[in-house]
Assembly symmetry: C2
Homo-oligomer: 217 residues x 2
Amino acid sequence: MTDSSSPPPAPTVPPAAPSKPRREQIHEVASRLFSERGYHATSMRDLAGQLGMQGGSLYAHIASKDELLIGIVDRAARQFDGALFTLRGDSLPAPEKIREAMHRHIRVVADNMESATVFFHEWKHLSPEAYTRVTNWRDTIDAFYRDLVIQGIREGSLRPDLDPKMTANLILSAVNWAYTWYRPGGSMTPRDVAEKYADMLLGGLQAAPKLAAPEQP
Amino acid sequence: MTDSSSPPPAPTVPPAAPSKPRREQIHEVASRLFSERGYHATSMRDLAGQLGMQGGSLYAHIASKDELLIGIVDRAARQFDGALFTLRGDSLPAPEKIREAMHRHIRVVADNMESATVFFHEWKHLSPEAYTRVTNWRDTIDAFYRDLVIQGIREGSLRPDLDPKMTANLILSAVNWAYTWYRPGGSMTPRDVAEKYADMLLGGLQAAPKLAAPEQP
DNA sequence: ACCCACACCAAACGCCCGTTAGGTGACGCG
DNA sequence: CGCGTCACCTAACGGGCGTTTGGTGTGGGT
């Protein structure tokens, strides 16, 4: 912006500037429609109609309907990845790490309700390669939480009788299921949800932890 | 199976015996296909093919594809209802009641994996009346768990600082999400899953609850 | 023997699907 | 002005969809 000596920056054909807005608009609207109605119940003409164009015109910007789905699901997976895997290096005790992981996980869901919903509902309809890619990726997320529990048991911060697989399942149930009920406009932030969930999960629901003593004052 | 002492029960035209096996077969295969591929990705010709017949022949037994979906979803809802609402009267303390409810809930999911999957995935595609019916029904399930938590707080068996809505959400996350990972042939029975989940939820994941030494000895 | 209900088939209906092909107007550059 | 590019449109393609219609063979009842 400050240089006045150079010529206008190649206005003829931007050589490597494929970041046009229209393609992103299509992906955004597709996320919304796929999450609201489902992949197979959304037609390309529906999608085009929401963008004020005809069905066939979409193909000037995208290659196919499958490609749209793959793009949305991959994007969601990358969001989870980016949020969670920076935690691997941290040296927090396991309970804090679980709390933080739940917070980030729920935040990704909350900030990407539409693509997260598509991710959880439509991954079965991906093309075979994308399908196995997503399946393998999910296994690494499972392993992430499982390892986190194992670490906690080893360091003594988590109960030693925990089943790591089932504990990871329980944590994942809590954070994933949020896509069915969380509403971004509501009164709870993702942090609120994560804090409440982590408090309940780590501390337990029961009132008296183990008061073996007679409770006469 | 019916009765062996009475004469053959009106063999000419069973006047009100619509419980033919074929209709049930169709519903069963439809449950399987809808749960595996999704409602919109399953065609009536697919369904008929699995039963060794032509697409049009289905309509001698059923009225429409929508009716099939409604039947499957309603059946699943009735299973949950029958399992949970007999608990309303019981006078157990809340932790036992939560444990038992989770057990029954997970057992319904495990014993009806296919229709439960259809229920959780395809309820958005129901006809408007069935849609609102299912939505309202889900609210009553939410309320059931919420009331259960409120009861526990009142009677002092659950932590007084619990948010009943969020606690019910957490319990429902655990038991509902089971449809995504539970496999009936595996090593865990629904009871095993429910016991582990209830232990973790009620008792908490953390090792040392809070070594009771707030006062100086 | 007749009859009729039954379970199913073969073919078609109208409609919508994802996708492609060719055309049209606007715009910026030489 | 001429040219190319871009975003989009109109129209169509082949095919699959849910569903309907008019048979056809079979088997038990009278």
